[in-house]
Symmetry: C2
Subunit: 427 residues, 2 copies
Amino acid sequence: MSLLIKNASLPSGKKTDVLVEGGKISKIGSFSSNAEEKLDASGKLLIPGLINTHTHAAMTLFRGIAEDMELAKWLSSVRRAEMLVTPPQIRAGTDLAILEMIRSGTTCFSDMYFHMDEVAASVLESGMRAVLGYSMVDGGNAAGTQQSANEKKMNSELSIAEKFVKDWHGKAEGRITSSIPPHSIYLCSGELLKKSHQLSEKYGVVLHIHLSETRKEVFDCLKANGKRPSHYLDSLRVLSRRTVAAHCVWLTKEEVKLLAGKGVSASLNPVSNMKLAGGGASPMPEMQESGMNISLGTDGSASNNSLSMFETIKFAALLQKNARWDASVASAESVFQAATLGGARALGIPAGEIKEGKLADLVLVDAAAPNMVPSHSIVANIAYAAHAGNVTDVIINGKVVMRERKVLTMDEEKIVERAQKEAERLS
Amino acid sequence: MSLLIKNASLPSGKKTDVLVEGGKISKIGSFSSNAEEKLDASGKLLIPGLINTHTHAAMTLFRGIAEDMELAKWLSSVRRAEMLVTPPQIRAGTDLAILEMIRSGTTCFSDMYFHMDEVAASVLESGMRAVLGYSMVDGGNAAGTQQSANEKKMNSELSIAEKFVKDWHGKAEGRITSSIPPHSIYLCSGELLKKSHQLSEKYGVVLHIHLSETRKEVFDCLKANGKRPSHYLDSLRVLSRRTVAAHCVWLTKEEVKLLAGKGVSASLNPVSNMKLAGGGASPMPEMQESGMNISLGTDGSASNNSLSMFETIKFAALLQKNARWDASVASAESVFQAATLGGARALGIPAGEIKEGKLADLVLVDAAAPNMVPSHSIVANIAYAAHAGNVTDVIINGKVVMRERKVLTMDEEKIVERAQKEAERLS
């Protein structure tokens, strides 16, 4: 399969053609080619596909189920719904999420949840790219006792997570890779965290974990371990270049240095954090100073309620500026990079850039939409003015999955209808 | 002209038909009618048109011109551009803004800027509704000397503003009303502020002013007058039910009580405030407690960079939650109301509600878009999940100005092209 994208505008303002072969960008410049498929990108902006490094896709079914609630009340509402969810519902919710993601220019997402075979099946069929893992919880806690309180539960969780890696890693023409995701320090025993790291090393996959999302998490960890969460994880030797730490809000400068030194990637989730009233803002400038890799995530639809990465990009930048009383922090360039190259680096995927040899995960945006004009700064237009409705075409792994706003790989009407029906059973 | 909207879903979940006659909603329920025009709203959500109570429409031409800058640097960049702007450029920028607003479901905006005849002409032709006024600046300052430093300048400003009211108030089938907008306490003398209030009373129009946008404004006013900005305005007897105070970030509880007692409406502009790193958050819960009318604005495209009120609704709610460490403040209901009924009340326009007798300023949203499903809470979907691209049809003053995403009253291609060309001359 070869695909020629003609007359695209790049964020730099340059015009170019892009040839895609074997799922990769094979040539950039001005040329003609007898590619099997052509895409006229005149009047459109070509950007790397957006990479969402932290979400729970199936939670679209819970969108709107627990609104404007204190965290404890929100958690119990969501947990109640999660207890009832069946595998077909996970599939229905994931299908809906992938539709929303494609429509909003996301070409890869990282998901930790349960019934992950359903999630993988949805990724397989939709043409999406994803890093998936079974989210482990063993009733352990931040006390991190070496001997897990419930060894049987721990072992069963580890085996589900490992089986998922064996079954799915590298599948779907390589579009599916896998991760080992222990949920968090407060829902996992120290032993489970250690073993998770060993599995992540064994298979060479991402270790995906929630980290320092709330003040409570930090206080509980300090009380139980005399250490803040990052130091606690370090004491268990969990941190590595494979670690993607979601949220990273309540970190000290010391922790940022530690995480950066270990090569950990942050996945900032500003919209979810703000909606759940976590307070504060991630120490993004300190992360940048220490050379830490930064990526962005939407989190699940129960706490966001949108999967649009364009929205997350703007929230990420503006929250930083407002929290730091400094308009120059979190520049348009830096948040756009976090949503593209930063995400690719976090997930270990050769994407996030328009460069020969990189994966052809590409998005076209209507450059003549009224909100995208004028072009004083195209990067600022992307970061601060674009919305999901501006996305016209999406290419994943070299394949056109949306053309002129029509999703080609999924039956949109059927998916929306089924999600609505399944959601009604939950409420 | 009569228009029948069939099978619309309301935010309450109810289905309904709506008959529009003479620019107003004349009947709501389930019925048939031989209206001249029909609009099938099956699968669509019907909401009151969004009302943007503080913007400078023509500043779309400056979108992206001054990015990620400290306020002082940003101001000088924008002022430099403003010095060069010609009337035809104001027209080009306003046309672009109105296109963007219609596409994002805004049916009315309040604008204070200059060359306002051009803005009014654009509103007239586009079918938009607006409250317009010439933004006065007399080189006065927060010291508010009774005798203006530059009486000639003040009188000339007042006469331009008054002439605009005389020329345009009530024009365009009543779609254009006018305001008297002294810019702010820091760019206007006390005498100008007083006289502005007298003009606003004389013509029964809105007094539109920037208030307590930055800490500097508050500190300077305290230093010069020994009073905070709201108390200073009160001492000049400027505050009334006609006052719309834009920004209202750095207010004390005392000031909120004062403003509420005087019947002042707030126009919160969270996106612009965050982007310019103003810090903090407006005291929205205190405003609500004291019964103050709250509306929302985008501010201009040089500091936002979007005119989407959907985005502003989400930012308004999430900033409050995060700043107050309380997820229950600024509920979806309350921010949606601020963007509709609150805006109508601020501007003195009988709109913002789907009710018999109200102005037919209405918006249809694709309820089957993947991001708008499921419907556990339709209001939460509007406030937290919707984006500009979900808007399908827009009705202003009973007239369909956008149908199935096609703007009927404006030549979109020509406007986008002209705005691009005019903007290039500025940079």
